[in-house]
């Protein structure tokens, strides 16, 4: 998957988990400061992303993912497929 495709899929996940419109899920956005997403919603996003991308995002990794770009980068490096 290209980073653009990962970003689009992540936007859908964030919208489903939190109701935040997918078009606000841009690379520079901070989950906490810009999107006002709390730690429990981050867990929900992570578990949905694990199912969607068939990848593992452990709690220790999750706590390091501060921005949308961080997540896209993590998934891209994990080599996720469509």
């Amino acid at each position: 998957m290209s980073d653009t495709e990962i970003l689009a899929a992540l936007g859908e996940i964030v919208q489903e988990a939190t109701g935040i419109p997918a078009d606000r899920v841009v690379p520079a956005a901070s989950f906490t400061n810009d999107l006002d997403i709390d730690s429990l919603s981050m867990v929900e996003i992570a578990t949905m992303a694990e199912d969607r991308f068939n990848v593992s995002i452990p709690d220790a990794e999750l706590s390091k993912l501060k921005t949308v770009a961080d997540v896209v980068d993590f998934l891209s490096k994990a080599g996720v497929a469509a």
């Binding site: 730690s39 429990l40 867990v43 578990t47 709690d59 999750l62």
Partner: protein, 317 residues
């Protein structure tokens, strides 16, 4: 050697709540916690909790709940053969509380013991009480979930202090012509013992996001296996009485279980997480408020530190 005298069915025949006098809203939490009503409600759904006063102990709250449950069942306390107190918040390891509860109740010939499976304790106690009645070991058993968890909280720790509340719930189990308590489904995972534990200075602590992930990803399949063991389809359930840890966990599990006709217990909103007391408090409250009635089927599922979990389907008395 004789085997058990009888193998028969069991059911809950009475139940009751005992809630502490003091109601503490989010606004009334100690200011040093540096939190807000909005922050707490968004993450937990909790608006208030009950905090036990100096005269409200695990034993006194349990005794009050047990007395009311025995009266609700219409049973003579002297006929109670077993008192099981599920708790993890006694002020000391010994003596346990169950014997004092039995004495206060007037259950003069009862055996009594405490059971610690943390927040999961009540469903364990209920299953042991049920089996004791089913095998004819006793005629009536009282299963109690009770906590004075406030005693063990770190009132400087925002991640734990806001979550918990005190209280006691009790049920009486007796023999039945029809099945009234399904086979129990037990489970545990000691590899995650550190998710909810005690600090070196004996204060409760938990890793909230990790517990949230575990609860929202691992427990819906457990709930479905409880239904399967009971021979009850999710859409045949009249109530979901899940451990009242956090409203977001409850709503997530309810969505995954898909019990479309069930009322969902949400005692956590104004009682907080009452640990082992949460399932019997929530179950008794649903009946008191008229949301469920005699013969309705309720899925009970409790889970907590250990990690431990247990669940069964029960018929409402």
């Amino acid at each position: 050697m004789n085997g058990p005298a009888a193998v028969r069915h069991s059911r809950i025949i009475g139940m009751a709540e005992q809630r502490p006098e003091l109601l503490m809203t989010n606004h009334e939490l100690p200011p040093n916690l540096d939190t807000s009503d909005e922050w707490i409600q968004q993450r937990t759904g909790i608006v208030s909790r009950r905090i036990a006063g100096p005269d409200e102990t695990v034993v006194s709250m349990s005794s009050d709940a047990a007395r009311k449950a025995v009266a609700d069942a219409g049973v003579d306390p002297a006929q109670v053969g077993l008192v099981i107190l599920a708790t993890c918040s006694m002020p000391q390891p010994i003596p346990g509380g169950a014997a004092q509860v039995a004495t206060a109740l007037g259950a003069t010939r009862a055996g009594a013991f405490d059971l610690n499976a943390a927040c999961a304790g009540f469903c364990y106690a209920l299953s042991v009480a049920s089996d004791a009645v089913r095998l004819g070991s006793v005629e009536y058993a009282v299963a109690i979930g009770a906590e004075k968890i406030s005693h063990w909280l770190d009132w400087n720790d925002r991640s734990s202090a806001i979550l918990f509340g005190d209280g006691a719930g009790a049920v009486v189990v007796g023999p039945s012509d029809e099945p009234g308590i399904s086979p129990v489904v037990y489970g545990s995972d000691g590899s995650a013992a550190g998710l909810i534990d005690m600090t070196p200075d004996d204060r409760l602590r938990l890793d909230g996001p990790a517990v949230f992930r575990w609860a929202t990803t691992s427990l819906a399949p457990v709930a479905l296996s409880v239904c399967e063991a009971a021979g009850v389809k999710p859409d045949e359930l009249d109530a979901l009485v899940l451990h009242q840890a956090n409203l977001r966990i409850i709503n997530s599990l309810a969505r995954q279980i898909g019990a479309s006709n069930a009322v969902i217990a949400t005692d956590v909103v104004d009682a907080g997480n009452t640990s082992a007391a949460s399932v019997p408090l929530a179950l008794a409250r649903l009946r008191r408020e008229g949301a469920i009635t005699t013969g309705d089927l309720a899925l009970t599922l409790s889970f907590g530190s250990g990690l431990t979990w247990a669940g069964s389907v029960v018929s409402v008395p």
